[in-house]
């Protein structure tokens, strides 16, 4: 039995989730400390997104438990960008809604964030006109103004160009060196480079049963 006040930022023991009485993925256990990056790998449909949604608190676990110190920041597949609002209006809304590190300097911070994610040329364009990669960059803007120390990133590299990937890597590095932690999923083709990382390979419930039958 784990003590609730152990030093881990996040501790997961025997976590699993059932959908329609079938396990989505085989139970996973891991611990995460400040400054570390956990890479979750596995084939399509093996439950990576489900795991992140469980960790974020959007789903309730069927088995096992999650001990977390605070609410993590979750960046999923849906960008949470309004088609009818400009990039700047979108980011400004989320800043106001979620709060920022320095709320008194909102205007300067907003411009700074837009520049850092490389969307200054399209800052006044409506969300509907953005490309998939620009959308991804816009949704990653949250990483720059929210102050959660644990990040849950679902396929953060998808749709990003090489500059975008480098940008995300540098944001991530700053976050990790300043005592944050991150859990990231990937299906394998794109991996973060130059990080010390733990890896957790996931097996879907169905794969496991298929293996037993063979």
């Amino acid at each position: 039995m784990d003590l609730p006040n152990n030093s881990h930022m996040l501790a997961v023991t025997g976590l699993s989730f059932e959908r329609y009485f079938e396990r989505v993925f085989e139970p996973v256990s891991f611990e995460l400390d400040a400054g570390s990056l956990l890479l979750i790998t596995g084939s399509n449909g093996c439950g990576k997104t489900t795991l992140l949604r469980l960790l974020a608190g959007l789903l309730d676990p069927s088995e096992g438990k999650i001990q977390k110190e605070e609410q993590p920041l979750y960046a999923g597949h849906f960008p949470a960008i309004k088609d009818d609002l400009s990039v700047e209006e979108n980011i400004r809304f989320w800043m106001k809604f979620m709060g920022t590190r320095k709320s008194d300097q909102m205007d300067g911070l907003c411009e700074q964030v837009i520049e850092e994610i490389g969307l200054t040329p399209v800052a006044q364009q409506e969300g509907r006109t953005l490309s998939a990669g620009q959308r991804k960059r816009c949704s990653l803007a949250r990483l720059l103004f929210c102050d959660e120390s644990l990040w849950l990133l679902d396929e953060p590299y998808s749709n990003l160009d090489p500059q975008g990937i480098a940008m995300l890597d540098s944001i991530l590095k700053t976050h990790l060196t300043s005592g944050g932690a991150c859990i990231m999923t990937t299906h394998g083709s794109l991996r973060p480079e130059g990080f010390d990382l733990q890896e957790c390979h996931m097996i879907s419930g169905r794969e496991r049963y298929a293996g037993e039958a063979a």
């Binding site: 974020a56 608190g57 959007l58 789903l59 309730d60 605070e70 609410q71 920041l73 979750y74 999923g76 597949h77 849906f78 960008p79 949470a80 960008i81 309004k82 088609d83 009818d84 609002l85 209006e89 809304f93 989320w94 106001k96 809604f97 979620m98 709060g99 590190r101 709320s103 949250r142 102050d147 959660e148």
Partner: protein, 227 residues
């Protein structure tokens, strides 16, 4: 996590909703045009007899208002659900009931209030006697917020269904029945100079009850739709 002050988040959400409503004003006009068309069709359908129209006026206007509201309910949470905004809001640590209330207030201001403002015109078309006009406006002013509040529960319940529109109307129309009965009876009573404060009083109590309870039901339904 340094959570944003609740009031600031509430205001930010309201402002965003008004900006979105302004950008999608064509979408917003549809239910109102629908309301006007439905009321216009009645004199053509049942005949232009002034006394007949005056008799059915409260019912016709109220039913048209009901239909127009339901028409705009399906989109209340849908786009926020589909683009991931809703899950981010849930995770932001803000009270989900307050988020639901902000969306509902915005919905009433852009969909319910215009119906109240249009009602004198509708009353004139339907030849409603002057004695009933003020009560009609009052009943709509009290009743349309209830339509939005109760409708939001239905909208939240059906948001994860691809075509939730029909189910939504099946869910909320029965809940609108008491309101419809009270409102039309208040207006009809006023026209024939009978007391109507009882009906209006019951409507106000309905408004207070739904204002305090519906946001929590909406929040629970949203949480359910997200999991």
């Amino acid at each position: 996590m340094s959570k944003q002050a609740t009031g600031t988040a509430f205001v930010a959400l309201l402002r965003r909703d008004f900006l979105l409503a302004y950008r999608r004003r064509a979408e917003l006009l549809q239910p109102l045009v629908f309301l006007l068309v439905v009321v216009t069709l009645f004199p053509l359908g049942v005949g232009p007899s002034p006394t007949l129209l005056a008799n059915i006026a409260p019912g016709v206007i109220w039913i048209a208002a009901l239909l127009a509201t339901v028409l705009s309910l399906d989109s209340l949470f849908r786009s926020d659900f589909e683009d991931g905004t809703l899950e981010q809001m849930v995770l932001s640590g803000q009270s989900l009931a307050l988020i639901a209330l902000a969306r509902t207030v915005a919905h009433w201001l852009v969909a319910g209030l215009p119906i109240v403002l249009l009602s004198p015109l509708l009353a004139m078309w339907m030849n409603l006697p002057d004695e009933g006009l003020l009560i009609l406006i009052e009943s709509l002013a009290i009743g349309t917020p209830v339509l939005s509040l109760i409708g939001a529960i239905g909208g939240a319940l059906t948001v994860s269904l691809k075509r939730g529109g029909q189910l939504l109307s099946l869910l909320v129309f029965p809940l609108y029945v008491p309101l419809l009965i009270l409102a039309t009876s208040a207006v009809s009573s006023a026209v024939v100079d009978l007391p109507y404060t009882g009906q209006l009083g019951l409507m106000v109590s309905g408004l207070i009850a739904s204002l305090t309870l519906a946001p929590f039901a909406t929040a629970a339904a949203l949480k359910l739709s997200l999991s």
